[in-house]
Amino acid sequence: MISAIAMLLAGGVGSRLNVLVKHRAKPAVPFAGIYRIIDFTLSNIANSGINRVAVLTQYKPLSLMDHIGDGSSWDLSGRSRGVKILPPKTGEKEWDWYSGTADAVRQNLSFLTSSDKEMVLVLSGDHVYYMDYRPMMEFHRDNKAHVTIGIIPVPWEDTPQFGTAILDEKQRIVEWEEKSPRAQSNLASMGIYIFDIDYLVSTLTITREADFGHHIIPKALEEARVYGYLFDGYWRDAGTIQAYWDANMDLLNPDSEIKPEIWRTMTNLNNVGLPHDRPPTRVVKGGKIVRSIVSPGCEIGGLVINSILSPGVIVKRNAVIEDSVIMHDAVIGDSSVLKLCIIDKNVVVGTEAGIGLGDVERDNIRFPQHLSSGISIVGKDAAIPDGVIIGTNCIVYPEMKEESFVKLRYLCGETIGPEEGEDE
C-alpha cells in the first residue's frame, strides 16, 4: 500500500459565486442539499485510504472550520488519523498572508517534513467529483514521477480558464500552458497534484514562487519528471452561478454520473449547531413534490418542482418553487412563487412574493459577468417582504431586511443591496 498525506487548498474566494461567498469560502458553499463543495474532496481522500489531511484556509474560514470540526464525519479522527486546519499564521513577518497556492504549502512545510510518507496529494477543495486517488498514486510511483497532475479533457472554449498540458505517448507532460487564450491542448489540469515529498520540499525551499500552475509546474517541467494522469469521470468546477446551478440540477437527471451516495460522499450533518437531529421531512395536505431532491427536516405545504432543497426548508401553503436551489432553513411564505432561484440559508420570503418572475431582458446590471441566464440569487439571512416581486437576473444581498426594499417591483437585472462601492 502506498503511503501518502494530503493537503487541501480551501482558501478559494470563488468571487464569481457572488453573494453565496459573502460569508464563506467557496469550498464551504452548500451543495446538493446536505453537502458542501469540500465534502467531495474530503470524502475522496478518506475513501482512498489517506488518513492525514491538512486543510489550508484563508478566506472567511469560520464556516469551513465549523463544518470540518474534528474530522470524525469523514472518519478522519483517531490515533493515526486527523484533519489539521492550517490558517495563515504569523511568521517572521507580522502576518504572512498566503500569496498563492504554493506559498500556502510553503508556509506549512513542517506538515510535509514531519511526515514519513512518500508522496503528498495537493488538492483543491473547489470541485465536485468522485475519484479514487490510489490508481493515480500507483501511476505516479510506477513512472518514478516527481509530479503527477490530474488531467481531464474540457470543451475547447473553456481552455482559457485552465492550465493545459500536452502529453507524450507515455503520458509525460512535454508542454504546459497556464490559462492561455489559444491553448494547443484541451487536456486541463483538475487542480490535483501528487508530489514526491522530497522534491516538493526542496523546490519550495529553493524558490520563493507563489503559485503551482504559474510557477512550480513550469519549473518542474524543465528539471523533473512530470506526468499527466487522465481522468474521465464527472468533474465540475461549480465556480460560477450558472455552473453551480447546473451541477445541482445534474442531480435530478438520472443519466448524469453525479451520485453522491454511491460515491460514498460524507458530510457533517451537525454543522449548523443544532442540538438535535433533523426530523424526517413532512409533506402536508396540499403539498406536492415533483422531480426534486429534498433533504430532512423540511415541511412541504406547497408545490416543489425540479428543485434542490437543503435541510429545514419550510414551504408554506400554495407556494410554488420551480427550478431552484433552496438552502438550509429558508422559509417560503404562503402563495409565493420562486423560479430559477438560488436562495441562501435562513432567507425568509414573505407571503405572495415572487422571485425570478418575468422575462430575461438584460444581464444583471451590476454584475453582468455573474448573472445573465436568468438565475436570481438571494443572500443569507435576507428577508423578502410580503408582496414584493423580483425579476430575473436579480441579486438580493445578504441580510437585506424590509427597510432595504424601497418598491414592490424589481425588474430584470436589478440588485437590492448596498450602493455600488459601499459593500466590502
Binding site: 446538493a32 442539499g33 446536505i34 464525519s73 442531480l251 435530478l252 451520485k259 453522491p260 451516495e261 460514498r264 460522499t265 460524507m266 458530510t267 450533518l269 442540538p275 438535535h276 437531529d277 426530523p279 424526517p280 421531512t281 413532512r282 409533506v283 402536508v284 395536505k285 403539498g287 406536492k288 413534490i289 415533483v290 422531480r291 426534486s292 431532491i293 429534498v294 433533504s295 430532512p296 427536516g297 405545504g301 434542490i308 432543497l309
Partner: protein, 410 residues
Amino acid sequence: MANIVAMILAGGRVDDLGVLTFFRPKSGLPFGGLYRIIDFPMSNLINSGIEKVGILSQYRPFRLIRHIASGEPWDLTGRNRCAIILPPFKGRGESDWYKGTADAVYQNIDFLRLHRPDLVLILSGDHIYRMDYRHLIRFHMDKKADLTIACAKVDQEGSSRFGLARIDDEEPRGGKVIQYVEKPRESKLEWASLTIYVFKTDLLIDALNANASKNSHEFGKDIIPTFLANKKVYAYKHYGYWGYTRTPDEYWQANMDLLGAAPKVNLKEYRLRTNMAHREIRDRAPAFIGFSGKVEDSLFYSGCRVEGTAIRSILFPGVRIEKNATVTDSILFFDAIVREGSVVYRTIADADTNLGSGAEVGDPRGELSIIGRATRIPPGIKIEGGVSVFPNLNEESFRESVYKKGDIVE
C-alpha cells in the same frame, strides 16, 4: 438540581408486536421515519440535563447496543456523562437472567452505588412522549416525596393493562396517591402509571434488597405497594401526548400522529436525537422524488427514492417506491422496497423487505398486515389485511397466491 441517575427499562420483547420484535427489544423498534423508540426517553433525558443513564436490556440486545453505542449521539460521553447498557450477568452462584423490572435494577445496584445519586429516575424504554423530567423532579422535591409516579389520563377501554392510581386533588401538577392497583381487570380509576418513577436512592435500594428474596420482582406489582404502605407516594400528572405502543394498532396510530399540518406529535418540538451512524443514516443522499413520484401527507428521510405514490405513510431512510406502485396508510422501515405496480395498504413492512412487482398487500380499511424483516414477497401475490409474515422468508416460502386475514406465513 439534585444528583440524578436514570435507568431505562429497555429489555422487553412484547408479544403483541409479533414479528416486529423477533430480532429486537421493543425499545429498539424503529419509529417515526428515523428513530428508535428508545430515542424518546434518551432525548428527554439529555434535554432535561440528566446525564448519567443505565440501560437495562436482556432481550436480543445487539441492535440496541449498536444503537446506543458510546452514548455520543446523545452527547452522553465525557467526564461526567455516560450511557451504559447493563445486560444481565452471571454472579457467583446466581445465574441470573433478569426476573422482572425491579430485579433488573436490583442486579445493577452497583451502578447506583458507584454514582451515589440523590434520586433515581426509572423509565420505560418504549413509550412515545416528551417530558422535561426537571419539572417532575421539582414536584417530587417540593412534595418531599419518597416516590413519585408520573401518570396520564387514559380511557376505560384498555386501562386494565396499566397500573392505575387515585390521586388526591391537591394541585394541577398532581397529588398524593390514595389508591394504586396494578393491572386490575376492572377499575373506575383513570390515571395510569407511565412507568416513570422518581425514587429516593436509599429507599429504593432498601426496597430492592427486601424484595430480592420474594418470588415476584416488578415495580408496579411489588415495589409500589410496599412504598404505599408506609412512604410518601405522589403522582405527577402528564398532560401532553403519550403514545403507548404495545399493539400493532397502537404503534401504527402513534406513527400516524406524526402527520398533518398540525400533528399531535411535532417531531421538531421534541428535539430528538438518534444514532445517525446506525444503518448509515448520515451517509445517505437526500431523498429523490421522481417525475412520476407523488408524496402526500407523509414523512420521508434521506436515502428514499419515490417514483410511485405515497399517501399518509412513513418512509424510513432508504425506502424505494417504484413506478406505478402505491403505498397508503403504511409504515416502511429502513431500505424496504416496493416494486413496480405494487399496491400497499395499512401495512407495516420491516427493514430490508421487498414487495414484489404487482403484489397487493393489505386492506384499505381492515386489520393491519405486518411483513417481517428482510422477507421477499413474490410478484403478483395477494396478502390481505390481518396477515402476519415471518422475517427472512424468500419467494419460495410463499406457496399460496392469496393469504387471508388471520394467516401467518412462516
